[in-house]
Every structure is written in C-alpha cells, then in structure tokens.
Amino acid sequence: MSTTEEKSSENKVVEFDVRTDEMLVNMGPQHPSTHGVLRLVLRTDGEVVSEVTPHLGYLHRCAEKIGENLTPRQWIPYTDRMDYLAGMSMNLGWSLCVEKLMNLHVPEKARHLRVIIAEMQRIASHLVGMGAYGLDLGSFSPFLYAFRERERILDLFEEACGARLTYSYLTVGGATADLPTGWLQKCEAFLDQFLPVIDEYHALLTTNSIFIKRCAGIGVMSAEMATSYGCSGPVLRGSGVDLDLRRDGEEWYTNMYDGYAFEVIVEKDGHYPNDHVYPGVPPEAVLGDCWHRFYVRMLEVRQAIDLVRQAIDRYSAATDSYGEPVKLNEKLPKGEAYLETEAPRGQMGFYVVSDGSAIPYRARARSSCFCNLSVTSELCRNTLIADIPAIVGSLDIVMGEIDR
C-alpha cells in the first residue's frame, strides 16, 4: 500500500511539474528560407517564437574598404555583387552618386536608357522576390514561373552588356555600350508577352486563399515603425508611407524620371492605384502586413512595365549619345556627395568622399535591405515558426547587399 501511495504522490508531483522549456534554435546560416546566409537565433517555446536575433556578416566582403582602393568605375563591378538580384540598380546608384560629385550630366539618350534598364531590372528583381516568397510559403511552382520570365530579361541584358547577373553596364558617365539594334523590339515583345502572365501570378499567389491565410495580418508594421526603422521601398510603401524616391528623391535622381507618368504604389483610402485591373485587397489583410508588401511589389512590376514602355519611346526619339563613360582614372573633385536611389528593394544610398584624387577617400553604401532586415526581431516577436519565413520573405532581402 505504502508503495502505491508513494507512487501516486510522485505522479502528482510530475503532473504539477509539467512545464515547457524554451529552446534556442539556429535558423541559418544554412537554412533554405533565409535567402542566403542570414542566421536567425530563435528562442522558441514549442512552435511559438518569443525572440528573434538576426546575425549578419556571413557574406561580408569589405566592399567599402575595397572602394577606398579603386576608382569609381573600377568599383562598379563590386556594386553588382551587393544586390546581386538587381545589379543594374546598384550600378546606377553608384554612378549617379559619383556623377553628382563630379557634377556630370549624362545625355538625354543615356537617361532614357538608364530608365529602361533600371525598370527592367526592377521587374526581374521583383519576379525573384515574388517567386521566392511563394517558395517560403511552400509553393514551388510560382518560383519557376517567375524565373521563366526573368530568364528572358536576363537574355535581354546579356544581349546589351554580355553578362547575366553582374552587369557593370550602367557606369559613371552613361553606359558602357549602346543597346544593340533590335533590342527595343525584343524588349517590347517581352513586355507584351509578360503582361498577361502577371494574372497567372495573381491567381497562384495573391488571391490564393491559403496564401492569404499565411500572410494576411502577419508581421504588421505601422507606418511610424517602418519610418523609424528606416525601411524603404515596397516594405515602406506596404505600410502605407507615400514615399518613392523616383518622385520624391533628390533632384539629381528625379531628373532621370522627368516627364514620366507614374503613380507611386501605395494604398490610399483602401485602394491602390490602378487596382481595378487586379484583384482587390482581401478583407483579412491589414495595411503593413506581409500581404501588402507582396502586393506592392506585384503592382510595381506593372508600373515598371509602363515606365519601360514610355522610356522606349523617348529613347528611340532621342538623338544624342548613350553617354561615354568617364576615363577609368578620371580625377574626382574634392568634396563629398550622398545620393539615394530607388532600387527594387528600397532606397539604396551611396556616399562618396573624395580628396581630389582618382580614388575615393571613402566609399559608403547604405543598404536598403540592411534597414529592412533590422525590423525582423520586432516583427517576429511572438509569432509561430512558420511565420518567420513568411515575414523575412516579405522583406525580400538579399544578403549580398546587407553584408556588402
């Protein structure tokens, strides 16, 4: 009898002692859905994540230090390797920044060429962002559909500059070469073919009820929070902040888009510009959640198509040159310049300090993803493990740009 009593009392103790322990889990740096070598340390209690600490630097290549030892044009290939999904936009950002320092205006034709290339790059980059986001949520096929179209853009880029990923095409003073003959027709043909395909993406992801369930109302970020964290690009606009450097940026940059008609993709009174063409916002979605960030990207693809079309017309009409690149060892004027451009992932800033020689005294890159990522630990607090890929994926980060 006594033994059974003991046992039952032991059982009681055990029963009252049932509690759960927290566990530290390393997500990354070799994890399929951290978009590269991001490492997130999760503190979890079962499936619930109470704390997320991002650790960076696994792809740090001292790009800024290298920039202090090369001339601006020599550094262009290194900018390619920052946001390797939008190399052209990186080239453009750095070139414009150096041109600002040198007070060098590119010819009209070069300006429109840059718009064509930058917006095509935006399409390509958002396609990857969109496809990879589907992948994060467990839907594999949209990724390949996205790559199918991106491949065609890369083909076009390859034709223009010979490279498919690290272009070094746009450079200080203009571009390294003019667009080959027949390129514009191919580009237009691509746009005509691509436009109806967007509906496919909307059917597979944007309006898919599982997709909506997975990302509507998840990772909600207020406009104040987004601003305070220095978020930019679709992440900022997804929170309802009406800021697009192509319209609001410094004159040196907005000049490039002078005369172009486009509307900033941001929700106003529950509506996005031109959203009658596309499925509306589902009732579950909250402004600033993953769904909105995704949707802004999708609408920007459409916007970029329009911009490319406008740019093609202007480019064909322009009669001057595509802009000769400056000499490789062109002396920079003494001074410093900072310029932010609207890269696909957000505001990419470059800061150049010169002491009068051909090599910048300091080259600094302000990465958009770096700031966008810093919001992770706040957004991922008290979510489920499955939400973490959903949130991090919606920020659409590229580690090459974060770690530089």
Partner: protein, 176 residues
Amino acid sequence: MGQQDLVSRLQETFGNSIGAVQLESIDPWIEVSADGLPEVCRYLRDQPDLKFDYLSCISGVDYFEPDPKKAVKLDGSPRLEVVYHLWSVAHKTSLVLKVILPRWKDDQEGVLPEVPSVADIWRTADWHEREVYDLSGVHFRGHPDLRRILCPEDWLGHPLRKDYEMPLEYHGIRCR
C-alpha cells in the same frame, strides 16, 4: 525653409552645440558637437515643420594618413567624422549632420572616441551604429546592444580606419 534659416534656428536653439556649417558643398552639412547630438536630433525629428523622421544613413569617415609623406595632402587635421544623413518623409527634404571626433578618445591610442547614441530617436540607428562601431571604431554611448555586426565578434581592430592592418591570420586562416 531654406538651409540658412534652419542653421540660424538651430544655432539660436542650441548655441554651442552647433559647430561649423558648410552650405556651399554639394550636400550642405552642419557640424554638431558630440554631446549636443541627441537633443539636436530629437529637435529635428519632433519639430512639425522639420520632421526629419527618417535616418537614411550613418557613416564613419576616418581622415588620417599613416604615411607622413602623404599626410600633407590631408585636408585638415586627423579626425573621425560620423555623418548622419537625415530625410523628412513629410517634407521631402534632406539634411546632413556631422560629428567630428578625435581619432582616439583623449588621444590615447586604442580608446575609441565616444558619441551618444541616437538609437532611441531613430530605431534604424541601432544597426547603423553597430556597423560604424564595427568598421570605423566609434563607441556609441547608451546604445542598447553595441556589438560587432558584420565582422566576427572576436575580430580585432576596425577595418575602415586608415591605419588598419589586416591581421596575418584569423583562427589559423591565413589572411594576407
């Protein structure tokens, strides 16, 4: 508001905290003393007609020339500048603040110069300050979690300093 008005307003409000002003350069900048920085920043962020609510970037720039022959080319004395690029979402205006620091605190080599942190004013400053600390070697006083961000935690030195020398090896890995 013109840059000149803004400068005189800041000078009126903060007096000694505002140092040299350079309005002729490409990006006009205002020098702020290290100690006065948080108040100036808070003022710039909170004033409704300024509303610099967006911190674009913090950069550390080391002005130093280790080679004495070339040192004459250096503009001004050796120093470390921390550059704050501000932006106002509402007014679409930008502003550059500079904090000019000695390369080492009290000229003791190895002791990092200090700047008060602005991480409580702009959340984005958290990571940017960590980066500047990591690469340029500036200690941000009052930062919630000042650790290295890009380099490994046990890395020695601050790579973007001009007198930095790459270590010969790191954990048995040859570096040079």
